[in-house]
């Protein structure tokens, strides 16, 4: 009996030693040799405890124009708090053009918030939580640390946190599927605003759904590596890389002064870039040198400088630019976008068998969607015609305003004005841009004109449209005496 006990305890002792060594051995494999921090159960719990208090739900009312009027469209999204001043990073398509924002924090408190600035080109927006309310209610919140996205490894574990379908504080787990996803040559838009041009996407299989937009994608150290932005199908989801977001946030905050909405100013040359993959032989170009000019925009800096379609752009300001694959286009575009605006830039080009140097002056990048306003009395909303819009529709020039929506039953709709009509003049006076249009509209309404002649560009022609405008009667003032006495009641 005693020997048995000894034997058992001896065995147990050996077992303990073996187990001890095992643990130490595997633990050292786990920590020392792992290429990325992995989603062990412990890590998942630890990261979620860190990140959840920094993730918020946003209930937003975005400004849109519909039925000839300025109105709002309500939606739900997610966001991540990025500093102790209470700024929240989210998507443009969640909070861009927001007129009202309510934020629900992790502790379920609801507070108002304001839009600081937005950038549709990268689908990002920065929102400010109302710090007064936070102080008043003694609300605590955490902010997330921003990590790096360039070093993400395919296969790396990541987590997405957000508000899918309004189900706040939802966490999903997955991996990085691809870290340089491009959709070139497809163009993406949000409500007709261009997006996705200046960076590639993080593709991940963490399930995200409508409502997750704007929430963080985090690695297993708890740092934000991306902003969840788009779903694409079964486990094919996309996030804006944090390395793209960082400078955008900085520039939005820097420009949001004196009550102005923050934005990102970019430079433009008017060149559409194309990868040279498999086209090198056609242009006598070495592999991996230069980028093809697919087309040059009308009236653009590049056109004015003499750049032509099929030129191969070799260098900008003596720094080489190479785009062989579609994945490299975004970075090249971004390089041009980050040039100083309004400054000379040297372009080295290869054309036919020669090399030439041209000088262009960059302009401010402008999208196709201009500023929009409502004209309530006429029952129509109109938008400034930008050069990009004029080019996309091959209009003769960038003058005029384009009709976007009409109010049924009001003068513009009754005169059979149509969406996409470009209004060129009011009562014979040219409406070169939205401000000129607004001035003439205000004057017409003030004068209570009941017939207004518009010249409208529709198709290839310019036609006359006459608005018959009615005005509400003036409300009687209190000093006006009634003109007739009421009937005396019969006795």
């Amino acid at each position: 009996m005693n020997s048995d006990k000894k034997w058992v305890s001896g065995q147990l002792g050996s077992l303990a030693v073996i187990l001890f060594f095992d643990l130490v051995f595997t633990a050292s494999i786990a920590f020392a040799d792992d290429p990325f921090p992995s989603a062990t159960p412990a890590a998942v719990v630890r990261v979620s405890r860190e990140i959840f208090p920094a993730v918020v739900r946003l209930d937003v009312a975005q400004e849109i124009y519909s039925d000839g009027k300025r109105t709002v469209r309500r939606g739900i999204g997610s966001g991540v708090i990025i500093d102790e001043q209470g700024r929240v990073l989210t998507n443009y398509h969640v909070a861009g053009r927001a007129v009202e924002i309510y934020i629900t924090l992790y502790n379920k408190e609801r507070i108002p918030a304001k839009l600081i600035g937005d950038d549709h080109w990268t689908d990002l927006a920065v929102v400010q939580m109302d710090m007064e309310t936070i102080k008043r209610k003694s609300i605590e919140f955490k902010w997330a640390k921003l990590g790096r996205s360039e070093s993400l490894i395919v296969g790396q574990d990541v987590m997405a946190v957000g508000t899918p379908f309004g189900l706040a504080r939802t966490m999903t787990l997955g991996i990085v599927s691809n870290n340089e996803r491009t959709f070139y040559p497809d163009d993406m838009t949000i409500d007709e605003y261009e997006t996705g041009n200046f960076s590639n996407w993080i593709q991940m299989d963490t399930p995200i759904n409508p409502g997750n937009s704007g929430g963080p994608l985090v690695d297993m150290t708890g740092e934000v590596v991306g902003i969840n932005t788009r779903g694409g199908g079964q486990n094919l989801n996309f996030a804006v890389p944090i390395d793209t977001a960082r400078p955008v946030v900085e520039r939005i905050l820097a420009s949001a002064v004196d009550g102005k909405r923050g934005h990102v100013a970019r430079a433009d040359l008017g060149i559409d870039l194309k990868p040279l993959q498999d086209l090198e032989t056609f242009y006598n170009i070495d592999l991996n040198k230069g980028v093809l000019v697919n087309s040059v925009e009308r009236n653009s800096p590049a056109q004015k400088a003499g750049v032509k379609a099929q030129d191969v752009l070799l260098a900008i300001d003596d720094k080489p630019i190479n785009v062989r694959f579609p994945e490299e286009v975004a970075e090249a575009r971004n390089r041009i976008a980050n040039l100083p605006i309004g400054k000379d830039v040297k372009l080295l080009l290869h054309r036919a068998k020669e090399t030439l140097t041209l000088s262009a002056i960059t302009e401010k990048l402008e999208g196709a969607v201009g500023e929009e306003r409502e004209m309530k009395t006429w029952g129509v909303s109109v938008r400034d015609v930008t050069n990009a819009y004029a080019n996309s529709r091959q209009l003769d020039d960038g003058k005029g305003v384009v009709v976007t929506t009409l109010a049924p039953g009001l003068p513009a709709a009754k005169a059979v004005l149509q969406a996409d009509d470009v209004i060129r003049s009011i009562n014979g006076q040219e409406t070169t841009d939205l401000d000129a249009f607004t001035t003439l509209y205000d004057a017409s309404v003030k004068a209570r004109e009941d017939a207004v002649l518009l010249e409208v560009n529709r198709g290839r022609g310019i036609l006359s449209v006459v608005l018959k405008v009615t005005y509400p009667k003036e409300a009687p003032t209190t000093t006006t005496a009634p003109t007739t006495l009421p009937d005396e009641p019969a006795d």
Binding site: D272, L463, V465, K468
Partner: protein, 460 residues
């Protein structure tokens, strides 16, 4: 009964007898007399992607074998060179249908009819159309043809005149139903007073039917009175040539709405505004400009339509009744408050359209090209002297489709050679494909005002 009562009863009965149904004996007589003139026109659409046979009802209109049918059965979308193997099928009950070779005469866009001529010499039973106006409430017959499965048998439809429509196409509306598109319309006296042409919801084809009896169950209710297509007989189209339609060079015109008309002092005056003028065209040559309003044609007010949108077509049709070289006097108002003045426009020939443009089918890479026409450059907002060829067709699953070449792209360069004409394109294409069949081709195209460089990889 008193005489007064008799008179009263007779007067009461008289209108009833006048509106009575057509006697079945009359119907049988008309049927027997008219159906020998009802035939089927058959042709093959030989497209780049395959052949398709098309069958449409037609009417023999002259004893030497001229046959008339709806222009919509030979769509302008089909390139003329692809309309092949015309035949006229004479249906028969007792024997096999007779198939006779025919020659396509052409389309008459003034009247929306098309014509073909039987090649074999003979005397064919013809139906003559008569310009007899129809009255409200009048009873009419129409004989349509059943589809192939029905042996092309004639079937009689009965109707009553409900309204005379106005506008660019002043058709007659009936209650009841008419024969399918291509059918003649006959009055109680046995006269052919109209033709059932294409209309919304109807098909001119005897094949491609979802349901064989759909034209009987949901019949047409509009027909073209004889007067509306008399021009085809008074001034027949020439065979083998595209129709020379007169053209005024006004690129776009719009009918004035009531509010716009009132604003310009044109109450109760149908008017159109010239909204675009083609540079160098007939209107431009005599100084017509955008913004001018036309109030009279050849001294007469413009025919009134049901709504302003009808007016451009009414004007178009009016001009189509003239010939190339004719003068039309347009009375215009230049600006509000100005007196109307007359301007004489000399009509020229309409620019050639895509259906007669020469084509080339690049079968191996799966795309078709054709010559550019005025319509391509005008609607695509390109300079009138734009050189190049237009992509007419992309073969599904072909190399060109994979390379994202698109229909209506305008090719300006192929490999390193500029392409100005179809010949340029063919030459470079054929020689390159022959000498280097494994090499990719580079096309530079114009798409929506911007250039695109497209690389097509040939199939392995």
């Amino acid at each position: 009964m008193s005489r007064l009562a008799c008179l009263f009863i007779c007067l009461f009965l008289l209108p009833l007898t006048a509106r009575a149904q057509i006697d079945p004996k009359v119907v049988q007589e008309v049927y027997d007399r008219v159906t020998p003139s009802l035939v089927v026109v058959q042709y093959t659409w030989d497209s780049e992607l395959g052949k398709r046979e098309v069958f449409t009802p037609a009417i023999v209109v002259s004893a030497d074998g001229l046959v008339m049918f709806s222009m919509y059965a030979v769509s302008l979308e089909i390139p003329d060179e692809q309309l092949k193997d015309f035949k006229v099928v004479i249906p028969s009950v007792e024997k096999d249908h007779q198939e006779l070779e025919a020659e396509f005469t052409g389309r008459d866009e003034r009247t929306l009819l098309a014509f073909a001529r039987i090649k074999e010499k003979g005397t064919y039973p013809a139906l003559k159309f008569v310009d007899t106006p129809v009255q409200l409430g009048e009873s009419l017959m129409s004989i349509g043809l059943l589809p192939k499965q029905g042996g092309y048998k004639g079937y009689v439809m009965r109707s009553t005149v409900a309204a005379h429509l106005r506008g660019a196409y002043p058709y007659i509306l009936v209650s009841g139903g008419l024969g399918m598109v291509g059918a003649p319309v006959i009055n109680a006296k046995g006269e052919a007073v109209g033709f059932v042409n294409w209309q919304q919801g109807q098909s001119p084809y005897l094949n491609f039917l979802q349901q064989p009896l759909q034209a009987v169950q949901l019949p047409p209710t509009l027909f073209q009175p004889s007067r509306d297509f008399a021009q085809s007989f008074e001034d027949p189209i020439e065979s083998g040539k595209p129709q020379a339609l007169p053209w005024s060079g006004m690129g776009q015109i719009t009918g004035l709405t009531k509010d716009v008309a009132d604003f310009f002092g044109l109450k109760d005056t149908p008017a159109v505004e010239i909204t675009d003028v083609i540079p160098g065209g007939p209107a431009d040559k005599v100084g017509l400009k955008k913004g001018m309003k036309i109030v009279k044609l050849d001294g007469k007010p413009i025919e009134r339509g049901d709504e302003p949108d009808d007016l451009p077509q009414i004007l178009q049709r009016y001009l189509h009744r003239k010939k190339v070289g004719d003068t039309v006097a347009v009375t215009i108002i230049e600006a509000r408050g100005k007196e109307p003045r007359e301007v004489k426009v000399v009509l020229e020939g309409q620019p050639a359209r895509p259906n007669i443009a020469k084509r080339f089918w690049a079968e191996d890479l799966g795309f078709g090209v054709r010559e550019l026409t005025f319509y391509d450059t005008y609607f695509r907002r390109l300079p009138v002297d734009q050189k190049g060829v237009s992509i007419s067709l992309i073969k599904p699953e072909g190399a060109a489709e994979t390379a994202k070449l698109a229909a209506n792209d305008i090719v300006t360069e192929l490999n390193e050679t500029p392409v100005a004409t179809l010949e340029d394109f063919k030459k470079v294409y054929e020689s390159t494909r022959a000498s280097k069949p494994g090499d990719a081709m580079k096309l530079v195209v114009l798409r929506q005002g911007a250039t695109q460089v497209i690389r097509i990889e040939p199939p392995q």
